[in-house]
């Protein structure tokens, strides 16, 4: 079972890849060769394992998004992105921007130190802090279980 932090980091990585792929699709208009290459790179990264590449993926997808946004807004010969699917391209670009924001948020959350401290304490050579906890509860019935965590 994964911890919440693992889900966040995994989500950021997958979100970064999704952002890059979506941004690449969105950028296909008038920028085909470059974005097709990026799609290939994204697939290779996915195959190699996403986690170590989540930040580069986010930066890459941000760059592709910016480029795609610029391409769809830049008038070419007087018309911005003059294809029949231009409207869908722009919708895809908006989806990609939302995906990127979600991915970036997940990544920031994963990098932020979690609030509660460790849910357990480590026993030292003199038996502390178990010894103190044990003696602090004199007057109560106590149960100690020695069990493996696996």
């Amino acid at each position: 079972m994964r911890s919440p932090r693992e889900w966040l980091t995994g989500g950021a990585a997958v979100g970064g890849l999704a952002g890059a792929v979506t941004a690449a699709i969105a950028g296909l208009c008038c920028a085909g060769p470059i974005t097709i290459a990026l799609l290939g790179a994204g697939g290779a990264v996915a195959a190699a394992g996403l986690a170590p590449f989540r930040l580069p993926l986010l930066l890459l997808s941000a760059g592709v998004l910016g480029f795609g946004y610029w391409r769809t807004r830049r008038p070419a010969n007087g018309v911005a992105c003059p294809t029949t699917v231009g409207r869908w391209i722009r919708v895809s670009l908006r989806v990609a921007i939302v995906a990127w924001i979600v991915a970036a948020t997940l990544w920031v959350m994963a990098c932020t130190p979690s609030g509660p401290s460790s849910p357990y304490r480590v026993i030292t050579a003199d038996g502390e802090p178990l010894r103190s906890a044990f003696n602090a509860n004199v007057g109560k019935v106590r149960v100690i279980m020695l069990v493996a965590p696996t």
Binding site: S118, Y120, G127, V147, T150
Partner: protein, 104 residues
């Protein structure tokens, strides 16, 4: 008390603690096996002490280097030093200890 047995590591402890969600429970990690080895002579096991369940009454204190001998204990390991774990029996002993405490 989470102990380093069955290839258990400290990284396994946070998840394991979720299986004991009772807020009265305090979780510890026996990193060096201090209690695994310390309870061996206390219980007369002749082997590492783990998968053992120890019940202490209200007067028990830990004043010596070794952990105190429990008032009642059970286990799930291969030993004849004590009774094999029966959750109902252990719970009955725990309940009896609590009721005895409440009467005083």
């Amino acid at each position: 008390m989470w102990v380093p047995k069955k290839q258990g590591h400290e990284s396994d402890v946070p998840l394991a603690t979720k299986f004991v969600p009772d807020t009265r429970a305090t979780h510890f990690w026996d990193a060096s096996g201090l209690l695994v080895h310390g309870y061996d002579p206390v219980l007369g096991l002749g082997q590492d002490a783990w998968d053992v369940y120890l019940l202490y009454g209200p007067t028990a204190r830990w004043d010596r280097p070794t952990p105190p001998r429990p008032d009642f204990w059970m286990h799930q390991i291969n030993t004849t030093a004590g009774p094999h774990l029966d959750p109902d029996v252990f719970a009955a002993h725990a309940l009896q200890a609590v009721q005895s405490l409440e009467r005083h």
